[in-house]
Subunit: 155 residues, 3 copies
């Protein structure tokens, strides 16, 4: 995985795994992506819950990394960002203590990445949810569904 | 936003915001709506978790308000309820303490609104989830996906 | 409901209920299933949260039962497993204490059932989430979306 430069929004190159499930399912012009964690160089940079050891700013950084991993999966698995017709839906999960009221700000950090790299095609319907735990104790995970142009048109 | 009358189920008129994400994405006859909070007159009427300050009855009221805001978004953004072909899926999130076992009853209050206003077209697949926190400390948020008739047919 | 044999992966026959929502919505080749609980003989075999009374192994058993109920709904409501073109997305919710880091292993138990019974058609995009509570205090619930072949082709 390439390291993101300080302050830059560099699409990440997620590592492939041998998991029994797929990173993305594409069918009839819709791509369903696996829930994406904020991997950077093969590791999740923060562990725990927002309000219980992880700051809101660190969660925002994780949200950005999740989004950059999504874009990396689209590049690796779907043939490139030009295939994106429209990001349809993002459900953002933030591991947090009860009462944490900064969920929209955390997810805004992910939403901004999609608009930065995809413009209007990156705008999306969104839901932000505060949960008890996420895989690898990640503070953030995002689930994304994307409409695609046909591979021929993109090529 | 118009105030809902006591005991009536009046579709709400949600306020538009300048958020970076959209209230609804419509593509190829499917509308993906933003997660909807129980706004009434621009505010969420209860804050906190069910079992930790918010009663099950108050959560049911919130679920109804979420559903009425969904219908309001359909009216404002999609051209009216007559465009609804079928409500496909509702994922209902309830901020609650561990062990709260009234999730289906809370979400039944939302489901009933869709059936009241849309009949068979308002029936849907549903998932109810108890979570740690939601935006604005709302006790309830619902995520809805709807199949639409084409705008020509509805007009 | 038929009881699953020890060690076997027998598709379950879920009981029908008179709920106001549907067990599955099928439209234009996509089936949206209700959130599925780990019913066995009409009851959820474990109650509570993982890390708070329910073990990871018991949660894995629940995940398997959720998946077997999904397959049962497909058989009962959609005409049989041969209609499945592709499982598209599974969102797996596990009621757990904060810090539980075994979410992928729990959901792997569900994923394996789909691959066992459907082969490549059973592979899917997946998201695993740890939550505060689920209906009937179930430790696991899964939300599944499936692409279908037309009923004529399957018949």
């Amino acid at each position: 995985m390439t390291e993101a430069e300080e302050g830059a929004s560099t699409i990440l190159v997620p590592r492939r795994s041998a998991s029994p499930y797929l990173r993305v399912i594409e069918l009839d012009g819709i791509a369903h992506l696996n829930g994406q964690l904020p991997y950077l160089d093969g590791a999740v940079p923060y562990a725990g819950t927002v309000g219980g050891g992880v700051s809101a700013e660190e969660a925002e950084e994780c949200a950005r990394l999740c989004a950059l991993n999504v874009l990396g999966v689209i590049q690796q698995e779907l043939g490139g960002l030009e295939r994106v017709r429209q990001v349809l839906r993002i459900t953002g999960y933030v591991a947090c203590v009860p009462g944490f009221d900064g969920l929209p700000a955390v997810m805004d950090a992910a939403s901004a990445i999609f608009v930065e790299h995809l413009g209007e095609r990156g705008r999306h319907a969104r839901t932000a949810i505060g949960v008890a735990a996420l895989p690898r104790n990640s503070p953030v995970e995002i689930e994304v569904t994307v409409a695609l142009h046909s591979a021929e048109r993109a090529g």
